[in-house]
Symmetry: none
Subunit: 198 residues, 4 copies
DNA sequence: AATGAATGAGGGTTCATTCAT
DNA sequence: GATGAATGAACCCTCATTCAT
């Protein structure tokens, strides 16, 4: 097996272990057993348990990041269509590789200061992006006058919870289309039957 | 110091340590140093590190649970007022005792199967509660026809993210009133200026 | 309760615990629970776990010792009768207070150098006593010419094993009379139907 | 060093420590210091202190057991010769490896219920074996009519005590031949010059 | 590159003993 | 005398990492 292939195989084994049992409950023994390599081999490819975790985290963050495109106003698709496309890509990614969701939404939190900081920055950048889109939407009259930061939190948190419940925990039995439609419907249309706050 | 007081003191020290560094990074030595007791004293009050963590988790869950009342239709307050009161109580709790938020929103996830299951059930029950409220709201014409489960996820996840960002991470500099108003405004009124999806 | 009575009560509780679970498996908590006294009270009467064990051992050794009288030639009873009386007294003691047997035959061995040494000396003195009796018996023509030390070992070990099996483990279902008769019969008469070794 | 050799080396170090200081007084540190391995290495070969103790106990029991052959009537050697051969083999074993005697006669008693039970069963099976031999001896007229269970206890206990005193404690300075001859002489011929109890 | 035996720092827990009340 | 909360030294075991082959 080519070195690069072996490295990927080990990383995949590790990702599966981490996703299944979490960082601390995963031992190097689990990873090498799953990857079918010897203990020493593991350390030929990764300096430490910590390092492989971070490498996986990096890759998952950027993979997820890649699915999310900034919403442009003058593009081919309307902003709503762009938003829908973003949502669909993320849903498809997490549905297809649930370990990414487990990693980024569940396991990696509270592990250590550095990891926490990375995740915080990642979600912070998503929030900033959403906030900016909302602000621009407001200035173009596409979005109601709402607090952009608050709205961004709700969009991000709401979407994440929906993904966790439906794609990871499976407690919300919602199909892909229903998820996208429902998410957009609720976020854009709101819950109230009539205008709120006057 | 009375035994009960000492037990509380140790639990508080532990909660602070767990909130600050997470479960694994917290050593018994940290807890007893913070509580100012000897090693043996800790085990006089708690059987193990695991047990004290669970005890704290239990208490935090029920404290948080206590802030959330089922929304009744025929009560003194209107459903919207009841919802606002719930939101305010939770915000006040987490603002006043941020370690509760850290515990329930961050640290406790991915620790061990039993803890995960407990948190999942807790959030599951919140989701069920919200879902039911939404369903009832729909049947009474107070809420638009939306997917109640999807809506519940968005309400829960949106609220949680807002709390995390504003009360814990402080990246969203939003005051209490702005949080409540913003949350209710966005969730009930939606983002779109005009009706969406027809 | 009078101090002396309390001390005895604690010692009895300890003896029962030691006999039942052995030295190491017995915790101070077990002893005080059984004696119904507080932890501090225990240390008012005994300096340490070690000390109470030794005190009990001492008492048991001397109680057992008291049952064994040196066999005198010119006494009222014949040497055989004196031997029988010794055997009967020991059997009665161990049958009536099996914890003495457990202590002296089982638990106390291998605990620590000092205890081992005490037991060894105790058994050593018994061996010496028996050896002397055998030697005198030989010189008076009451006992065959045998190696007195070897004979002493066999007498002591044989008797002890019989006691252990019948009075403690109950694997040899032998009544008191059968024990005494059997022991004396085998030891004095030997197993062989005809003269051995020429 | 080959793994199997290392395992044996650790076991031997442990056996020496246990024989010298007993189970509880022996620390893992003692064993690994004696074996010249690191702490982790110990646990590579044995799951726990308890396990290595049991492993050694097992081996010693079966080694001892191997020296003792059932006495057959129609064999090449006479029953008396077979008995003598058994005795000689056991004496040689315990003399050559005194730690076996310490283990089986001393240390392992009162350690824990399971160990006690194992030893009890081991000695019980020896007793049964001896008892059967005595019974058969009686029915063939080779042995006097005695209580076979009582006789078995005396044979076993007498032999054990002789071994302890001569090969382990060295308080009975008896050579190998004197031990065998003395033991057989006393057990078969008895102490009394004339028939006892009629 | 690959292996897997060896390492040892580190942490959770126990329990005999002390001491203030 | 009596109490029982507090103490802390001691010890077993784990597991990420190393290194000789």
């Amino acid at each position: 097996m080519k070195p690069q292939k072996r490295k990927v195989a080990i990383a995949e084994a590790a990702a599966a272990c981490f996703a299944e049992h979490g960082y601390h409950a995963t031992q190097i023994s689990d990873i090498i057993a799953r990857a079918g390599v010897a203990r020493g081999t593991f350390y030929l490819y990764f300096k430490s348990k910590h390092e492989i975790f971070n490498a996986i985290l990096d890759e998952f963050i950027s993979t997820l990041q890649d699915q999310i495109k900034t919403i442009e106003l003058g593009a081919d698709m309307s902003p709503a269509e762009q938003m829908r496309a973003n949502v669909e890509r993320v849903i498809d990614l997490v549905t297809g590789r649930p370990e990414i969701g487990k990693f980024l939404f569940n396991e990696a939190v509270g592990l250590d200061k550095a990891v926490d900081e990375r995740l915080r920055r990642f979600y912070g950048s998503l929030l900033d992006m959403i906030e900016k889109s909302v602000s621009r939407g407001i200035s173009f009259g596409l979005v109601r006058k709402v607090d952009p930061r608050v709205a961004a939190c709700i969009v991000l948190g709401g979407f994440r919870e929906l993904l966790i419940q439906s794609s990871i925990f499976k407690t919300a039995k919602v199909g892909r289309k229903a998820m996208v439609d429902g998410l957009i419907d609720v976020l854009l249309g709101g819950l109230s039957g009539k205008p709120v706050l006057g």
